[in-house]
């Protein structure tokens, strides 16, 4: 019996279908970012236009007859975008009579990686547009992802995006910065790590300034190397302090080959293993939401209460406020 998950926290409207932990469908429609970035209302309009078709396609691909549960991204994300996913989920839940589950977006990225590799207690580097955090499961007061360290200002993804726009690169910012960086030479840049926390604005400001005088390629290279080294160092510190045995990276920026290489080298130097999910689960997707909704549905004591206020959206939903009630 299948669970459907709807994701719409940013520019992707994604619908996934999962059955007993297997992904049967993972369909996405993506808003093309303009040079000015992402305007929430416009993206929400786009999502609204495509929601019905994406849901139908996912259900058809999965070939399921009955929907057992429906999940949607409650947050964190952009209000108008989240709203479209939430409303679509409510409608789908009413039509099918299946119970509805609100899911934390960040936890879903991490959980699908943990699920794919069957890991019990990994140390997590969660890197997306708006966020960058070092996470791990803690049992008290209830099982949840504790934040060991995180960015004090912007997420690494948004930082790279801002730079890419200033450097007039083509959309798909992160990967265009990586392409530009190839063969660059290193210029010293501000490197700010505070224990397991870090900040990116000083680095970004410096890189923007250098764009005017320096070689574009060298600036992109140095920016990327500095930012990823900071993330790696903070992760390494957390790894040794917590003593966890595995490291995973998840979220949009975990698609970066350079970041993966660095984390792999770091983990190996301490005899730990490094894992990362296939790209389709690190970019925003509905399958991860479906997977977590299925786990919530199966977990004891998680039968949803039918109360409208439980099914809202939370633009600033923190990962530590989302309980993990399964193994």
């Amino acid at each position: 019996m299948a669970t459907v998950g709807i994701e719409s926290s940013a520019h992707t409207f994604g619908v996934g279908v999962v059955e007993d932990g297997r992904v049967l469908a993972n369909v996405k429609s993506m808003y093309r970012i303009s040079d000015r970035g992402l305007i929430p209302m416009k993206v929400a309009d786009f999502h609204q236009k495509h929601a019905g078709a994406v849901i139908r396609r996912a259900l058809k691909e999965a070939g399921v007859e009955r929907v057992e549960a429906v999940g949607y991204t409650m947050g964190p994300g952009l209000g108008p975008c989240l709203r479209v996913g939430q409303l679509s989920a409510i409608v789908l839940s009413r039509i099918t009579g299946a119970p509805l589950y609100p899911v934390n977006h960040a936890a879903a990225h991490v959980e699908i990686t943990r699920h794919i590799y069957g890991l019990r207690d990994p140390l997590v580097l969660y890197v997306s547009g708006g966020n960058s955090q070092i996470l791990g499961l803690e049992d008290k007061p209830q099982k949840h992802y504790h934040v060991y360290g995180e960015t004090f200002d912007v997420g690494v993804g948004n930082m790279l995006d801002s730079f890419a726009r200033a450097a007039k690169l083509k959309p798909a910012w992160g990967s265009s910065v990586a392409r530009l960086a190839e063969g660059g030479r290193y210029i010293a840049m501000p490197y700010t790590v505070k224990g397991m926390d870090f900040t990116f604005t000083g680095l970004l400001t410096n890189a923007m300034k250098l764009l005017k005088s320096g070689e574009k390629r060298d600036v992109a290279f140095s920016l990327q190397e500095t930012a990823f080294s900071m993330l790696c160092e903070a992760t390494e510190r957390a790894l040794l302090l917590t003593g966890k045995r595995e490291v995973i990276a998840s979220g949009g920026v975990a698609q970066s080959r350079r970041l993966r290489d660095m984390l792999g080298v770091m983990a190996k130097s301490h005899g730990r293993k490094f894992y990362v999910a296939p790209d389709e689960f690190n970019s925003d997707n509905g399958a991860m939401i479906a997977l977590v909704a299925e786990k919530m549905h199966t977990a004891v004591g998680m039968k949803p209460k039918i109360k409208g206020s439980d099914y809202g959206i939370k633009q600033r939903y923190r990962i530590e406020d989302f309980m993990i009630r399964w193994g």
Binding site: D153, K194, G195, D197, T226, S229, C232, E236, R237
Partner: protein, 208 residues
């Protein structure tokens, strides 16, 4: 020389030198970073750490005295004791009382360090050591900086706020103000602003 611990950026060896117990803190190369960045970071942190620790030592702050500085290593006095994070979390009333006293002392020391124009950069209970006679030592200045920035100082306070419960934090902050003097209120104002940026609101650990 005997390896006693391995942190994220350095390997620590215990040794005897000139009849004294010392540690050798060596910053090892990190294979994940490009060579230029790696060497620059290790060189600069080694230098800054030694310089800051010597300055604080001279001003009477209880930090391990620096004996020798190399390109990527520092030899310093060895403090025999336990870090506060190993003391924390033991539920007995007696432990809580001595932890409270230690936190008050830690607040005063951080206030003094800030007054002397230094930020620590990783001020958690893992970097405060209590020796056998109960005296506190601040260790690991690898991420420290000479600065008068209220933001940097507020981040030191924030790290401590997050690693202890609210009762302990109150004692810490009360003596921090005494140690720092007048400028403490500006730092605490800045701390409020950082917290309001919305990232830190639910991160205090009340059970740890």
């Amino acid at each position: 020389m005997r390896k006693i611990s391995e942190g994220a950026e350095a390997v620590i060896y215990a040794a005897r030198m000139l009849g004294r117990n010392v540690i050798v803190k060596e910053r090892v190369a990190k294979g994940y970073r490009i060579k230029e960045l790696d060497e620059q970071l290790r060189r600069q942190r080694t230098k800054t750490e030694a310089k800051i620790q010597s300055t604080l030592y001279e001003k009477g702050v209880r930090v391990p005295g620096v004996i020798l500085v190399g390109k990527y290593f520092v030899v310093m006095e060895r403090v025999q004791g336990k870090t506060l994070n190993r003391m924390a979390g033991v539920g007995k009333a007696h432990d809580r009382r001595s932890m409270g006293m230690a936190m008050a002392e830690a607040g005063r020391v951080l206030g003094t360090i800030h007054r002397l124009g230094v930020s620590h950069g990783d001020f958690t209970t893992a970097n405060i050591m209590q020796d056998r006679s109960g005296r506190l030592w601040v260790i690991d200045f690898g991420l420290a900086a000479f600065t008068n920035s209220e933001e940097e100082m507020a981040l030191d306070v924030l790290l401590m706020k997050r690693s202890v419960d609210s009762g302990m934090y109150e004692r810490f902050i009360k003596s921090y103000k005494l140690g720092f003097g007048g400028k403490a209120s500006a730092v605490l104002g800045r701390l409020g602003e950082i917290e309001k940026r919305g990232r830190y609101q639910t991160r205090t650990l009340d059970s740890a």
